[in-house]
Amino acid sequence: VSTVNPPVVCPVPPSDYPHVLLAHGGGGRLTRRLIDEVFRPAFGNPLLDRQHDGAVLPASPHRLAFSADSFVVRPLFFPGGDIGTLAVNGTVNDLAMCGARPLYLSASFVIEEGLPFEKLRRVVASMTRAAAAAGVQVVTGDTKVVDRGKGDGLYLSTAGVGAIEHDLPIGPAAVRPGDAVILSGDVGRHGMAVMAVREGLAFETPIESDCAPLAGPVLALLAAGVEVRCLRDATRGGLAAVLVEIAETAGVRVHVGEAAIPVAGPVRGACEVLGIDPLHVACEGRFVAFVPADQARRAVDVLRAHPVSARACRIGEVEPGPDGLVTMTSSVGTRRVIDLPAGELLPRIC
């Protein structure tokens, strides 16, 4: 077995077939070629290259965070990303929200028979780029091929491990009345970008997904000594769901100002047309941070120095509970409750 890293690009066709066949998941010669010609060249690293049943990781002196996520987005490709970027950033961000430095990922592919290799290679290339940007290594994985018609081209599942290099008990239980609520940027881009492609909606300004790794800004907050109480990325259910979950778990009330929450013009316009509340729309590169009020300004400054959180701002504060409600001062100055979206808003967007 060669231990030399193969070239990063993949000049060789993965097989003589233009499409993935059931046999590519059968464990035989074609499976081996798929791994050797598509996955290993892309993800190649010493841990993966041992070609063992699992990755053997060095022991860490720190507490570890461990998270898993699955991705069933339709369409596979959308403005600003694809299922590959989502799969890497999704798990990277879940680790980051634990206050961890993401280190290792697994990647499992459930491929529908007939998927063009060209698409698979594009997804894998996106994963390689996203992993490099987030500073993680893909160290183990799996491939299955299902019958044509039994999957939407490609499902991905990733899991990841990260190191927690501090002693803060980050989580809803640490949230206290008086804390400031900080949002890392404008909301709703990912959900509306996918929705626009799915529904064939054309807007004057195309909406691009906000899919991005969030470990950088989170680690910067921690490095700056901000006593982060709680972090949560605003994925399914959008900002509203995140705030409600934290308020309910922490037994506090969270109050935000509508005017303080940035929503890009095209996203607002699309939401108006479709009758969707932007606060319910998923993001894939935005998070909220609960921090002590006297550190809010510093936290915003630190976040703004990072490109993915350049529009970070304070959107509200924590009030005494215990009702677990999220309230908002509307644009006309009245207060209302923010609720979880009922049922499926945008199916299959991540």
Binding site: R268, E272, R335, V337, A342
Partner: protein
């Protein structure tokens, strides 16, 4: 955002609220007809900006809410047929029928699809000649033209595998029913701006005269709604009963002529049962004889089963404006958007859903 922000402006809203306070000298009860207006009122807590003597009651203008259980049961029965693809708007899928809702029919193997336009259902029929596509058409006059256009296009394409289960309803007969009901307390109406965009507002003139009520064509943003209320209470204070248009950026007196002609081409006016209000004469749209081939009720005759509403649900009282959603003993406990007893808790225009979504903050203080 242009054309939106100026109608959600805090200063303009405050100015209008002050003008309403200065105008009223006595208690008045005003009904907003449309569920979209109800949602805006509750979302922005506009009633809290009003003087206490002005009471807003919520009307029957949620098409999903007023669709009778029998018709939902019919849609479910159609969805259970192996050769049928049943299409509707998303909200309809979660409205409980006698046994179950359309989502349950879908989970049990029925081919149920959410579409954004009836024309998508026509395309589905054209692309799948082996399946019969039924569009469960729900809505007021606002959506009737697109439903009509679907039938019109299906006929032009010569489709034999497309039909409509029509539950279209009309606003003016419902206003008449509310005003002639014993114990009515509504003294003025905010008419639904989008219905009037299609239909105009000439048909409201005889209603205003007959029942001696002001009717103000009103939009859906906070500033629009307060303008409508101001015009309405001015009339009430002056003793005038007129039809006024406070949504002139969208509505003209005669409405949208091509849209009205399309409705006239495809539909005929029929008696219709409303959930909570009972049967109202000449209050619905059924398919005209020239489009009988596209009428799902004629294509798939189904025995009418009498359906019972959950005894605890007060949807009828809510839809008539006789009760507020939070006055229901099941509100927020045995009836929630996840497990609704009645349609107003399901629909995005339902009054109960609006109260549940925006107003659990202060159930006791809700007016």
């Amino acid at each position: 955002m242009k054309h939106v922000d100026e109608y959600r402006d805090a200063a303009a809203t405050a100015t209008l609220a002050k003008a309403i306070s200065r105008t009223v000298t006595r208690p008045w009860t005003v009904m907003e007809v449309c569920g979209g207006q109800t949602h805006a009122i509750v979302k922005y807590a506009l009633d809290e900006l009003l003087p206490g003597v002005v009471t807003l009651v919520h009307g029957p203008g949620c098409p999903v809410c007023v669709t009778p259980v029998e018709l939902i049961d019919r849609a479910v029965a159609l969805a259970d047929r192996p050769a049928v693809t049943l299409c509707s708007f998303g909200d309809m899928l979660r409205v409980p029928g006698t046994r179950h809702d359309l989502l349950a029919a879908k989970a049990a193997g029925g081919d149920v699809r959410v579409v954004y336009s009836p024309l998508d259902a026509v395309r589905l029929a054209a692309d799948n000649p082996a399946r019969h596509v039924v569009f469960f058409a729900v809505g007021f006059e606002t959506t009737a033209p697109t439903t009509a256009m679907a039938a019109f296009r299906a006929r032009r394409l010569g489709l034999t595998n497309f039909s409509l289960l029509s539950s279209h309803v009309l606003v003016p007969p419902a206003i008449g029913a509310i005003l002639s009901a014993p114990g009515n307390r509504v003294q003025g109406f905010l008419a639904a701006g989008h219905v009037c965009t299609v239909m105009g507002y000439e048909e409201y003139v005889p209603l205003a005269a007959k029942y001696r009520v002001p009717i103000v064509v009103t939009g859906f943003e906070p500033v629009d709604i307060l303008r409508g209320i101001l015009a309405c209470v001015r009339q009430l204070e002056d003793g005038r009963v007129e039809v006024e248009n406070e949504y002139s950026r969208s509505v003209i007196r005669e409405g949208n002529r091509p849209a009205r002609e399309m409705i006239r081409e495809v539909f005929r006016v029929v008696d219709r049962q409303w959930r909570g209000l009972g049967t109202i004469p000449r209050s619905g749209l059924g398919l005209a004889d020239g489009y009988a081939a596209f009428d799902a009720e004629r294509r798939f005759p189904l025995a009418t089963v009498s359906a019972d509403e959950p005894a605890e649900c007060i949807a009828g009282l809510v839809l008539r404006g006789a009760k507020k959603p939070h006055e229901c003993p099941a509100f927020g406990t045995r009836c929630t958007p996840e497990r609704p007893l009645g349609a107003p808790m399901v629909s995005s225009e339902g009054a109960c859903a609006a109260y549940h979504r925006y107003r659990r903050l202060r159930p006791a203080a809700t007016r």
